[in-house]
């Protein structure tokens, strides 16, 4: 009986922690299509870690040889710091591939999911829900 109660409690806790994910990304969900992903390869032109959202500007070469900017929004600076994301691995001038959820409104904007760096390292955005879970469990994350 106690085992069942404990299992039920764990289930409720799990649901409780997971329910918040939708809210955590409410504004992101409103502005970015989370059902779609897009790989964008380009040279890092600017990388600004800041609040309310960090931003990576990629210089992307078009099929006609021209160059255009693609903007990648990411978590706020404070959240990235708390989640100990190794953001210093992204360097201006590096050629990277960033996987994004595309903007619902603008063709040159996306929200960060992963970044593949020149040495093959993949940086991932675990989101706030993973951080919250790590706090609840007393563990650390780096994404």
């Amino acid at each position: 009986m106690y085992r069942q109660f404990a299992a039920a409690t764990m289930m409720v806790t799990f649901l409780f922690l997971n329910c918040a994910e939708g809210l955590a990304h409410h504004s992101v969900a409103a502005n970015f299509d989370q059902s779609k992903t897009l790989d964008v390869t380009g040279k890092v032109k600017e990388f600004e870690i800041r609040n309310p959202h960090s931003q990576i500007t990629l210089e992307v070469t078009k099929p006609d040889g021209g160059v255009e900017d693609f903007y990648v929004e990411w978590s706020d600076k404070n959240a990235l710091m708390r989640r100990t994301v190794p953001v210093d691995k992204i360097r201006v001038g590096d050629k990277v591939t960033i996987n994004v959820n595309p903007s619902r409104r603008l063709p040159n904007l996306g929200y960060f999911r992963t970044a593949t760096l020149p040495d093959g390292t993949v940086l991932k955005d675990c989101g706030f829900a993973a951080y919250r879970e790590s706090v609840a469990k007393g563990t650390k994350i780096t994404c």
Binding site: M1, Y2, F5, T9, F16, L17, C19, A20, L23, A24, H25, H26, S27, A30, E48, R50, N51, P52, Q55, Y71, S75, D76, N78, A79, M81, R82, S103, L106, N108, L109, F128, Y131, R132, V135, A136, G138
Partner: protein
Amino acid sequence: MNRIRFARWTCIIEIAAALLIANGAYAAGKRAELDGVWILLRADIGKLQLTPAGEKLRAAYDFQKDDPDFQCKPASFTRIMHTPSPPIEVRQHQDYVEINYEFMDVKRRVPIKKGLTAKEAPYAVREHPHLGKSAGQYEGETLVIDTEGQKAGVLDTLGVPGLYQSDQIRTVEKLIPDGDKMQIVVTHYDPVYLVQPLTVTFSYLRLPDGKIMEWGCKPEEATFERFLPGTR
């Protein structure tokens, strides 16, 4: 037969005991436990019923133009708390409570004085008088904060995007301690835009050794316009 009945009753008593223990733990929250840094677990929005005026404003809401976030302006305490990642800090003192919100660097002071009404209280956030005046008192272990004098404008852009408030709005917040969890139950009373009071319940988790960091919002970095061609 008797053995089956006994087993059933045992089960019922065990469940009841477990529920009582769980409930007892909740009721055992002490006001001292409110102190600390908290991160948002979830927010539950109650039934929203807008007046025709509220519906009209909400239908016309355009986040690119109307969201005060893009000017680094905190719309309301509810809006601030709806931002999931930046934590809040509660520190209780003899005659006031400070609530520091990392989002937009909002530092709120709520006087605790018997008989003091929100209307008589000073502005809760000196830099943002549009957030109104707050007065607090304890009801048992719960801290109850009454706020009036908020300026008309956008109330929420995240939980209920496009929700507006009038200058007649009154807000009551109940901070309920529960060990390493806390609930803030916010009830908005607005005769102009709400048919019935709107309740939003924020559930928080204590952030061990947590600190409030600087937000440092700059409008030129927050605006949506920065993505539009020819604006950089």
